[in-house]
C-alpha cells in the first residue's frame, strides 16, 4: 500500500523515547523549535516519570520557561550538547549548570552542524580548522594538511530527532519555513528515529520534487500541528510550561 508515515496523535508520535536516550531537537532559538513535540514529551514525563536522563542536542539550551528550558526545569535532561547555552532568559539551564546538576558539552556552532551532518552521511570523522589551538580542541587529535593545522572531530548521531517542518507529505518529504530550517535537515538525517511535526500534511506529489529539502527516507513519523506555538512568542509572553 502507499507509504504513510503520519501518526494519530502526539503520544503515538513520541512512542519509544526512553530514559537515557539522546535527542536532537531542531531549531535555532525559537526559529524551528518543535514546541508541541517537546511539550508532549514533558507531559509524558510528568505522568509516567519517563523519559529522563536525556542528552539533548540543540544549538542553544532553552529560553524562558518553555520548550527545552521547560524540559530542563522538569528535570528530564542530564546533558546538553550545544554551542550557545545563553539566551534572553537562560535561567533554566544556568541554574542547573551552576548547581552541577546538568552536564554541558560545548561545541562550536559550525562544528556542531558538521558533526551532525557527518553522522547522517556516514562520515565517522573529519578535520576542521575550527577551534584549533583553543581550549575546545583539548584532547582531540590534530592533523596537518598543506601546512595548516586542523582538529579531528567525530560524527554525532542520536537516538531520536524532533523536527518542525512546514509541509510534509505522507512519505516524509519536508519543507521548512524561512530560517526555521537551520539544523533540522541535518538532525533528520542523523537520528535513528526522526519525528516531525508539520504545519500541514499533504499528499505525495503536492511538494515539487525540486523543492523538497528533507527527502522522506530520513523521516519516520509525521504529525500535523496546524497552529504550532512559537518559542520566542511564548517566552516574550512570559509563558511557563509547568
Amino acid at each position: 500500500m502507499d507509504m504513510d508515515k503520519t501518526v494519530a496523535d502526539l503520544a503515538e508520535a513520541l512512542a519509544g523515547i526512553e530514559d537515557g536516550m539522546s535527542l536532537m531537537i531542531g531549531g535555532f532559538g525559537g526559529s524551528g523549535a518543535p514546541i508541541e513535540l517537546i511539550h508532549a514529551l514533558i507531559d509524558r514525563f510528568r505522568s509516567t516519570g519517563s523519559p529522563k536522563n536525556l542528552t539533548i542536542i540543540n544549538n542553544n539550551a532553552g529560553n524562558g520557561r518553555v520548550g527545552i528550558a521547560a524540559m530542563i526545569d522538569a528535570g528530564m535532561v542530564a546533558k546538553m550538547i550545544c554551542s550557545f547555552p545563553r539566551s534572553a532568559d537562560p535561567r533554566a539551564f544556568t541554574e542547573k549548570y551552576l548547581a552541577g546538576e546538568i552536564e554541558l558539552e560545548l561545541v562550536p556552532q559550525g562544528t556542531l552542524a558538521e558533526r551532525i551532518r557527518a553522522g547522517g552521511a556516514g562520515i565517522p570523522a573529519f578535520y576542521t580548522p575550527t577551534s584549533y589551538g583553543t581550549d575546545l580542541a583539548k584532547g582531540k587529535p590534530v592533523g596537518e594538511f598543506d601546512g595548516r593545522n586542523y582538529v579531528q572531530e567525530r560524527w554525532l548521531k542520536a537516538d531520536v530527532a524532533l523536527i518542525k517542518a512546514e509541509l510534509a507529505d505522507r512519505h516524509g518529504n519536508l519543507t521548512y519555513r524561512k530560517a526555521g530550517r537551520n539544523f533540522s535537515p541535518l538532525m533528520a538525517s542523523a537520528a535513528t528515529l526522526t519525528i516531525v511535526q508539520a504545519r500541514s500534511v499533504v499528499e505525495p506529489g503536492e511538494i515539487d520534487p525540486e523543492q523538497v529539502v528533507t527527502p522522506g527516507l530520513f523521516v519516520d513519523r509525521i504529525i500535523e500541528i496546524a497552529d504550532a506555538q512559537q518559542e520566542e512568542a511564548l517566552m516574550r509572553a512570559g509563558v511557563a510550561y509547568s
Binding site: 502507499d2 507509504m3 512519505h171 538525517s189 520534487p209
Partner: protein, 225 residues
C-alpha cells in the same frame, strides 16, 4: 522443471524479499530488473545515485527527458512523492545507512562477504561508479548473479581473485540455482532448485555450502518479462 532460473526469475526472487515501504538502490544493468517484480500491495521507493528518490519506469520512446535519468543514464519517470537532491546528499543516503537494501551484480562473491564487481583486471579502462559506496551503508547488501560464469567456473568462491569492490559487505546472494546467505564468513544454503542435489550444487560452488535447518525449493514464475 527449469534447469536454471533466467535473469528475470532471479530478479523476481530477489524482489520477493523487499519489504513494503523499503528504500532500495538497484545497481545499473541486470539489478535494475528487480524493480519490475515488486509483489502486489508492496511499495518500494527506489533511489538512484544521481539524485532522485522515488523514480519510476522508463518513459515511452520519444518521451525521454534527458535531465531525468537514473545512474545507468537511462531515462526514467517520477512517482508522486519524488525528490531531487545533489550528489553529496545522495551518497549521504547511501553511506549513512539510510537505504534498506542495495541489490548489485557480481563477478565474484566470497564466503567472507567480499564482493568483486567493478573490474575484471588491469586491461582496458577501469570504471567504478557508485559500486564501492553502495556496498557500504545499505542495511542489507544483496547480490543477484548467475551461479557460474559463462565458461562454467564458480562465481561464489572462497576468496575473490578479482579486484575487490568491498570487504565483507554481502549478506545474501540470489543465483540462478540457489539463495545463499553469508553468515560468519560462510555460505549458508537457504534455497535451491528442487531438481538439483546438494552435491550437484556444491560442485558448481567454489566454497563449502553450509546447511542449517530446512533448505527450501527455489522457484519463480515461468515466462517472466
Amino acid at each position: 522443471m527449469t534447469e536454471k532460473l533466467s535473469n528475470a526469475q532471479i530478479a523476481w526472487r530477489a524482489a520477493q524479499d523487499i519489504q513494503d515501504d523499503s528504500y532500495v538502490n538497484l545497481g545499473i544493468g541486470f539489478p535494475e530488473m528487480v524493480a519490475k517484480f515488486q509483489p502486489p500491495g508492496r511499495q518500494a521507493i527506489f533511489h538512484t545515485e544521481n539524485g532522485i528518490l522515488n523514480f519510476g519506469e522508463s518513459p515511452a520512446a520519444g518521451e525521454e527527458d534527458w535531465d531525468l535519468i537514473n545512474a545507468g543514464k537511462k531515462a526514467v519517470t517520477l512517482k508522486p512523492g519524488a525528490a531531487f537532491f545533489h550528489h553529496a546528499d545522495s551518497f549521504a543516503m547511501v553511506r549513512g545507512g539510510h537505504l534498506d537494501v542495495a541489490i548489485l551484480g557480481a563477478y565474484e562473491v566470497a564466503e567472507n562477504g567480499d564482493l568483486a564487481n567493478w573490474s575484471t583486471g588491469p586491461k582496458g579502462v577501469p570504471a567504478v561508479g557508485g559500486a564501492m559506496d553502495l556496498v557500504h551503508g545499505a542495511k542489507r547488501v544483496a547480490v543477484i548473479t548467475d551461479h557460474v560464469t559463462k565458461d562454467g567456473r564458480p562465481k561464489l568462491v572462497k576468496r575473490c581473485s578479482l579486484p575487490l569492490t568491498g570487504v565483507g559487505c554481502v549478506t545474501r546472494v540470489y543465483t540462478s540455482l540457489a539463495v545463499i546467505d553469508i553468515e560468519n564468513g560462510r555460505f549458508v544454503l537457504r534455497e535451491k532448485l528442487a531438481g538439483m542435489s546438494l552435491e550437484q550444487l556444491q560442485a558448481l560452488t567454489g566454497a563449502e555450502l553450509l546447511v542449517q535447518g530446512e533448505i527450501r525449493d527455489l522457484s519463480a514464475p515461468e515466462n517472466l518479462q
